[in-house]
C-alpha cells in the first residue's frame, strides 16, 4: 500500500505505535517531505495519550451507592462518607459504633466530624411570599364539592334564572305588543310587589283612575313598540341583556319581585334564593358571561332535569342542591307563567269588551 493524502493517518498511527514496517517508514518520510503542511498533524499524533499525565479519577462516593453494608470498615480513605452519613442519619447502629471507635482512635478528625454535623442549611423564615392573596380563589360555599361541580352548579343556576326571566318576558312582550299587553308588564315592574293588575284595578281603582291608566297604557305601548322597531333585537337577546344588567347591578329586589309567583312563596324566600344564586354568579362571572346560554323552551328544562349531572351526581350535597334549585325554579316558573297568562287573558277580554 502506498501512502497518499487519503490514507496517511494510518501511517501516522502505525508510526507512533511502533507498528510500522521499514518500507512504510521510508514511504512516510518521503511523503512528509512532499507534504510539509501535514507535519503539524504528524507531531500532534505524538501528544495523544490517554494513559499518561492523567490523574487517577476515582468516584468518591462508592459507599453511598452501596446498599447498607455493615461489613464496610471505616478508614482514613472513606471517613468523609461515614461522617456525612452520620450527619444525615443514614448509618446503621453497628456503623455508628464503628464510627465512634474510629473517632476515638483518630481524635484529630473530631473537629471535622463536628463540622459535618453543623452543615445544615437553615431557611430564613423572615423571607415570605407576599402575593398569597393573589393566588387564592374565592370559596363561595363551604360545601365539600369540587370546583368543577361548583361551576356546573353555578351554570345551571344561572341558566334557570335566565329561563325564568325569559319566560316572564315572553308573556310580557311576546306576541302581545300590538294589543297593548306590554303595558301590563311595565305596570307590574313599576311596583315593588307583584300584583295581578286585573284584580287590583277592578277592586281598587276608581273610574277616573282607570281612564288615566288606559291613557298610560296607550303611551307605553307606543313607546315600547317604537323601541322594539328601533333596536330590532330578538326578544330573547334583548331581555337577556336586561337580565344580565340586573345581575350585574345585583338588583335582587327587582328580580325577586319579577319572579314572585304568589302568596305561597314569600318575598324573603325569593330574596334568599336569588342572593345565593347571585353569590354563585359572582364567583363565576367571567365564565357565565362567556357562555352562550340558550334558554327558550321545555327542551332545555328537560335536558337539565334528565342530564347525567342531576341524575347521577356522585356527591349527594351537590346533586341535591342542583335538583332543588331546578325544582324550585321550574315550579316557580310554571306558577308565574300560569298567573301571568291568566292575567293577560283577563285583561285581553276586558279590552275586547271595550
Amino acid at each position: 500500500m502506498n501512502i497518499n493524502r487519503e490514507n496517511y493517518e494510518e501511517f501516522f498511527l502505525d508510526y507512533h505505535e511502533g507498528a510500522i514496517s521499514e518500507e512504510a517508514k521510508l514511504q512516510l518520510i518521503a511523503f512528509m517531505e512532499l507534504n510539509p503542511d501535514l507535519k503539524e498533524e504528524f507531531y500532534a499524533f505524538e501528544n495523544i495519550s490517554f494513559a499518561e499525565d492523567t490523574p487517577a479519577i476515582t468516584f468518591d462516593f462508592k459507599e453511598s451507592l452501596k446498599k447498607q453494608n455493615t461489613a464496610t470498615l471505616i478508614t482514613k480513605n472513606n471517613y468523609h462518607e461515614f461522617f456525612i452519613a452520620a450527619a444525615e442519619g443514614d448509618l446503621l447502629a453497628s456503623q455508628q459504633k464503628q464510627l465512634e471507635i474510629f473517632l476515638s482512635d483518630n481524635t484529630s478528625l473530631f473537629n471535622e466530624y463536628q463540622l459535618y454535623k453543623k452543615l445544615k442549611l437553615v431557611p430564613d423564615h423572615s423571607i415570605v411570599y407576599d402575593r398569597k392573596a393573589s393566588l387564592k380563589h374565592l370559596s363561595v360555599f363551604s360545601l365539600p364539592i369540587s370546583r368543577k361541580v361548583l361551576y356546573q352548579t353555578a351554570s345551571i343556576a344561572a341558566s334557570l334564572l335566565l329561563l325564568a326571566s325569559v319566560s316572564v318576558y315572553y308573556y310580557q312582550h311576546g306576541n302581545k305588543i300590538d294589543s297593548g299587553m306590554a303595558v301590563v308588564s311595565s305596570h307590574l315592574y313599576s311596583n315593588d310587589t307583584f300584583k295581578p293588575i286585573v284584580k287590583h284595578t277592578e277592586k281598587v281603582l276608581p273610574v277616573e283612575a282607570k281612564k288615566q291608566t288606559q291613557n298610560k297604557i296607550t303611551e307605553t305601548t307606543v313607546a315600547v313598540a317604537v323601541e322594539v322597531n328601533k333596536t330590532e333585537k330578538s326578544p330573547v337577546a334583548e331581555h337577556r341583556e336586561s337580565t344580565m344588567s340586573l345581575l350585574a347591578s345585583r338588583d335582587i329586589n327587582q328580580l325577586a319581585v319579577a319572579n314572585r309567583q304568589n302568596q305561597l312563596q314569600s318575598y324573603d324566600e325569593n330574596r334568599s334564593y336569588y342572593t345565593s344564586v347571585l353569590d354563585l354568579l359572582a364567583f363565576t362571572d367571567e365564565k357565565i358571561a362567556n357562555e352562550d346560554l340558550i334558554v327558550s323552551n321545555d327542551n332545555y328544562k328537560n335536558s337539565i332535569l334528565n342530564s347525567d349531572l342531576v341524575k347521577n351526581q356522585p356527591i349527594a350535597e351537590a346533586g341535591s342542591f342542583i335538583k332543588n334549585a331546578a325544582i324550585i325554579s321550574f315550579s316557580r316558573l310554571e306558577a308565574i307563567g300560569a298567573d301571568i297568562k291568566d292575567t293577560y287573558q283577563a285583561i285581553e277580554k276586558k279590552l275586547e269588551r271595550k
Partner: protein, 161 residues
Amino acid sequence: MTTKEYNKCVDAYSDGVYRFILKNLRDEDKAKDVVQDSFIKMWDKVDDISSEKARSYLFTTAYHTMIDLIRREKKQISLEESFTRNLSVDHQYSDLKEVLDLAVERLPEIQKSVILLRDYEGYSYEEIGDICGLNESQVKVYIYRARLFLKNYIGDLEKVI
C-alpha cells in the same frame, strides 16, 4: 381538592416554595413568578390532586418551572465551572450560617436543589428524587457531594467563630 383546601395550601406552602426557588435563582421577581406559575398549574389540576399530594406537586412543579427558566436564560452553571470553584475560604466569618449561604451559592444547580430540599423542607431521598426526576442513589450522591463541598469551602470550623 376543594377550593378551601387549595387556599390552605397557599398559606401553608407558598413561603417554603418561594424560599427554595429564591435560594436557587437569587432573583426575587423571578422566584415570585415561578411560585405563581406553580400555583396556577396546581389550580388547573385542582380536581385531580389530593390535598395530601399538594406539597409534593408544588415543589415538583416549581422545580421544573425553575429549571425551564434557567435553561431559557442559559444561566445554568456548567459542571466544569462548578468544580473549579472547589476552593476553601481564606478569611474569617462571624457566622456559620453566613458562610454556608455563600458556599451554597457556589454549588452546581442540581446539588443546590437537592440539599435545599433536604435541609429546608426535610424531604427524604426518595421524595427529592420524585421532585427532581432522579433516583434515590443519585440524590444521595448529590447530597454527599454538596456536603463535602460545603465542608471544604468552610475549611476549618475554627475559622467560623
